[in-house]
Symmetry: none
Subunit: 203 residues, 4 copies
């Protein structure tokens, strides 16, 4: 549950390929995909830029692989929550905590997802991004809807707007959240839920 620091690989079994993907993810996230050169990645890895093509077919390929793995994991995590027992509110709690934990654990992948979704829209073979996003949206909307039906959540708000507000707030925090800072991700989640559930007004 501790964030990767430096160039430690994410969850790739020590393979060279996975190691390179980790480096690429960090650079893509930090500088932006199109501002990151293949040479930047190679330099960071200590090899020549041409050598990267022994492992990947293209720069785009690296981005695709990083995003694919991330989105598959994310969907699986959310689906696991929505599939378990629990009241809608409990499930919603878990979704939000998981999202903030994901930001903590995989900040580069999240940043990529946040920042490069637009770029990716125009590229071929990135259809999975939109599709998985939609599945995730349906999952969250299902939980919100269920909460309205049980009477836990208010029903006088546009649920799709509510979803967008929440989604944007949660994922945007990747921009300012510091995995190595004093503010822990579960505290952020807790504060967000406190504000979201109770509202900003006193009394």
């Amino acid at each position: 549950m501790t964030p990767r620091t430096g160039r430690a690989p994410a969850k790739n079994g020590g393979t060279r390929r996975g190691e390179l993907l980790g480096i690429a993810a960090q650079l893509f996230a930090t500088r932006g995909y199109s501002q990151t050169t293949v040479r930047d990645i190679a330099d960071e890895a200590g090899i020549l830029s041409g050598s990267l093509y022994h492992h990947f077919a293209s720069k785009e390929d690296m981005l695709r692989e990083i995003l694919k793995e991330f989105m598959d994991d994310l969907l699986a995590a959310f689906a696991g929550i929505a599939g378990k027992d629990g009241t809608p509110r409990e499930q919603f709690d878990a979704l939000v905590y998981t999202a903030f934990a994901t930001i903590h654990e995989r900040p580069f992948a999240v940043a990529l997802y946040q920042n490069e979704s637009a770029v990716v829209g125009s590229l071929a073979d990135f259809g999975f991004v939109g599709k998985t996003s939609l599945k995730i949206e349906k999952l969250w909307l299902g939980v919100l809807q269920a909460g309205r039906e049980t009477g836990e959540f208010r029903d006088d708000l546009e649920v799709s707007l509510v979803y967008r507000f929440i989604r944007d707030t949660v994922w945007s925090s990747v921009r300012w959240y510091n995995p190595r800072g004093k503010l822990r991700h579960d505290v952020v989640a807790e504060q967000y839920l406190a504000m979201l559930y109770g509202g900003l007004l006193a009394g």
Copy 2:
């Protein structure tokens, strides 16, 4: 209060320069600054890329000018609100309504501000972005703080976290808000405030 459509200039007095800036803003916002080529802008304007340099010293210059004008306007608008009479909650309402209205009226500039702030951080002569952002932050924090002191707003939440949550939600909506859609910006603002003030829970 109607959004610009097509390539109509924002508030530039019909000058060629302003017209070109409008085109650039739209392209920068749509494709991203670094994915937009000087030729793209020139093509859209119906001239050759070299000719742009009669109007601007560089591509970066265009971005700077667009952002500068936008941020100055934005700060002025917010400062006007905070300087007027009214309870903190009334002022806060006005800030949020103004932000959503700005997204409606100047979607490209807002998108640029949202998406390119990171890029811009490393460039010279873009210090005003960070500085103005800070001033805006202080304004909003002042209003939130005042609301806590009058007892209108809850005081059991980290105010700086609250600010970030709100800021991110509001500005992120530029990604999905459609100025020409059915959902009007004041409705979005209203829904957001309803959720924010009253909380998500029923009862």
Copy 3:
């Protein structure tokens, strides 16, 4: 009717574009398309390789343009002959003389046509090569067929084989024919026709 020497342009109205195409044609013909680098062409033109892209979209584009112009001209020349009055044998004479004259006048384009047809087959937007070749084949076959029917030409040979034999002989001569040598193209044509008409045997 004298062949181009050095880097003189073919028939391009003194334009820079045409001048560059002439240089490219010569190099493509001499070294082969894929062995000729964009830099080779630029060097020969006295500019930087990137500057070529001000005039052409790609290296492939240059090849296409060269071949297109050549094949259109060639078809027009042959069609003119087949459309005029004259016995089949007179027309056939003219076709052969024209072919050898073309080799003399535009040796680079002919060499390209001879050598790069295979490469070109797999590339997009080069369909015109095959199509025009087919039209030319039909023209020549028409004349040969007409000659058989008037009794001028033998009718005990496979006409399509005869066409291939002739075509291959004529165009292959681009490999050894020297536009600036002693052996003039009309002499070559004359000798070829003498052998073809009369046969190799004495008596």
Copy 4:
């Protein structure tokens, strides 16, 4: 006397080396030498590109070996014919039949010889190509000359032009001849000789 099909080796005694040369010959002939990558060859052979270097010192080496073997065989075959008894016309018949048979049996090597001779001219250690070609030319010219002296062949044509015309026609047919088609190589040879000997004119 049947053509190789698929990737069966030519006359290499089942060795791995010979097998690889066969694959290389086919690819070089089909795509062109410089368009064929070492990886293409390795892929086709089911190994990694680096592994090819256990068998050959370089890509150029493969080409050299293929051409060397081919040209030596070809010269030997032609020399055998010219060394045997028979009238010049009988010898000439045999040369032509042998050439077409060679196209049938070793189409890839012939295609390489036809297409890559130019490339090869500039490379070191490929001098044998020009030298052997010259020996072959002398052989054929000898037979043609002998035929003129015996009165079998016409003597009013430039003999070196006649040779070039014949050589180009024969070897060019590798481009369209299909070893597995209906048209057999001996029929092609027969038709060619009929046209060449008797001429195109009726009567």
